[in-house]
Symmetry: C2
Subunit: 340 residues, 2 copies
Amino acid sequence: MSLDDRKLEVLRAIVEDYVATQEPVGSKALVERHQLGVSPATVRNDMAVLEEEGYIRQPHTSAGRVPTDAGYRLFVDRLSRVKALSPAERRAIERFLVGAVDLDDVVHRTVRLLAQLTRQVAVVQYPSLARSSVRHLELVPISTTRLMLVMIADTGRVEQRLVELPAPTASDDVLDMRRTINSKLTGEKLADTPPLVQTLVDECAPEKRTTMACVASVLLETLVERSEERLALAGTANLTRGGVLDFQGSLRPVLEALEEEVILLKLIGEVEPSTTRVRIGDENEIDNLRAASVVSTGYGPGKTIVGGLGVLGPTRMDYPGTIATVRAVARYVGDLLAQN
Amino acid sequence: MSLDDRKLEVLRAIVEDYVATQEPVGSKALVERHQLGVSPATVRNDMAVLEEEGYIRQPHTSAGRVPTDAGYRLFVDRLSRVKALSPAERRAIERFLVGAVDLDDVVHRTVRLLAQLTRQVAVVQYPSLARSSVRHLELVPISTTRLMLVMIADTGRVEQRLVELPAPTASDDVLDMRRTINSKLTGEKLADTPPLVQTLVDECAPEKRTTMACVASVLLETLVERSEERLALAGTANLTRGGVLDFQGSLRPVLEALEEEVILLKLIGEVEPSTTRVRIGDENEIDNLRAASVVSTGYGPGKTIVGGLGVLGPTRMDYPGTIATVRAVARYVGDLLAQN
DNA sequence: GACTGGCACTCGACTTTGAGGAGTGCCAAG
DNA sequence: CTTGGCACTCCTCAAAGTCGAGTGCCAGTC
């Protein structure tokens, strides 16, 4: 038996009421608060079906109904329209992001903004190195046997590493290397650089080859292997809203998960162009987050995507509002990046 | 009436038992677990005095006693010897810090280590720019009207800023500026640089002065005004140990405080040489942390101090152990920095 | 004077009991 | 298919009662 329109309407009403009140919702309360045009008894029958299909459940006999993960999923997919942002929110976003002075600043402001607007935990990934291009590479002599390698990406990210040279090297030679390296690598996607770095060594004059090889290996590390993704996090205090009721009694696992960068990256890092992804409860692969939902999306200048951002909260969250906010913030950040 | 030795011994026993069990401790249990050589009745009399003096209190009539903040303070100041670290802990520290590849890495490893060893929230301040010297300044042309200013400090910190030039500038001129700036500033304490930067502009050839002024202003921002302190945080999940019992029922205020960098810096940033500072409950100026204690100290290569680190936990914490761990970690990190 | 054993008393923690009520499922009738 | 009615379930809350840890005080002892 498939679900007719009224049953879907009942599900929507249940989700909305439960999200708003945090309490199991009963048939009588439902008909009172929504114009369903039928009696509580009818609603009860519908509820029985919805429960059988796995969209809602009773915490215990003689209690109201609560949406299941599947129920939220259906709600998100078919029953909710994305809310428009309020003018106040729009203004907040603009005000917050104006005046950011560099990439760090942009990311920090963004993550705080997201946390504040959604009243949940926000995560923002720094522009991924893997998706960036080399804007410039700099070699700074620290001593005769030590260099600082500084890589500046087009997304504004700057990475640096120390290079220990095998032998003292004149600063002219360093300048020389720098020129060669830049002419070879500037403008290239980081992902494409490894073969180019190899040719750097191959084409190098033999007497300088060991030194160049040394620089090249650190270069590779910096550009590709290490390829360390960075994150910013804010709003953990929001986890405590709604008491310990959300997250089935313990914040512990959630806080633990939030400390693992790898996990967070998995959550917000897997981005497909212009999609907003919603993971509800069990859909999260991470056990610790079975009781949480994650709304994430990609951002970047124009249509390209250079990183992800998102929020994490209880499964019982305002999905339409959250989705709208996440999208809007991502768009603004993308525009901001495009200006640089 | 002052406290004789046995009363102090009773206080110590109360603190130790309470920290271990998290439960109010009564007179009978005390004499059973510690060799006090007197009867419960005597201990009761001592307790009455200790309570009158404000070192312990009863959660309610007919419950055992619990140390007050003042009690912990007395315990820390006069009744506890710093514990020696276990060999396992020493090994853990060494193993953890070996293999750190750059400053970021050192700081991240340190903060995780601290959180893990103390089982509390750990905070590590990056080496403060204010206490660093300039190792090198680099100007990287991005376009003809844009430079990237990169500052490398002797502590390993690297800061970068974008400079918008008033007019297109030849790369030779940039090289020139770079040379001048470096000869003037390299090796100087960041705190001492502002007057030097001013002379940079003053001594500059008139036709280049506007450009130089522009660079100089960003330079000042980077070196001094912005002087942004950075922090790493780990172990927030440890706040949930001991249920919601610690922190008088709500993690909320604590989590909020942990999100404010300014607050954290206040907590661990005010360092005096070779002191370990312990703030207990009310001694914290931040209202949100009235129910928490903070153990912090400074670290740095040799005897100089370049930053702070510490842990935050419930007032009911193992002070001797925590103090020992914090000190040891600070020392190891200092040694590590000295090697670079 | 300090310590001790004894004793009455307090009061929170936990259990039991019972009333109240929200909510359900089912059924028969419209 | 919808609806009103009804019996039933079972949670919530409050009241009452028991239990026991822990105390304060006092009189007696060393």
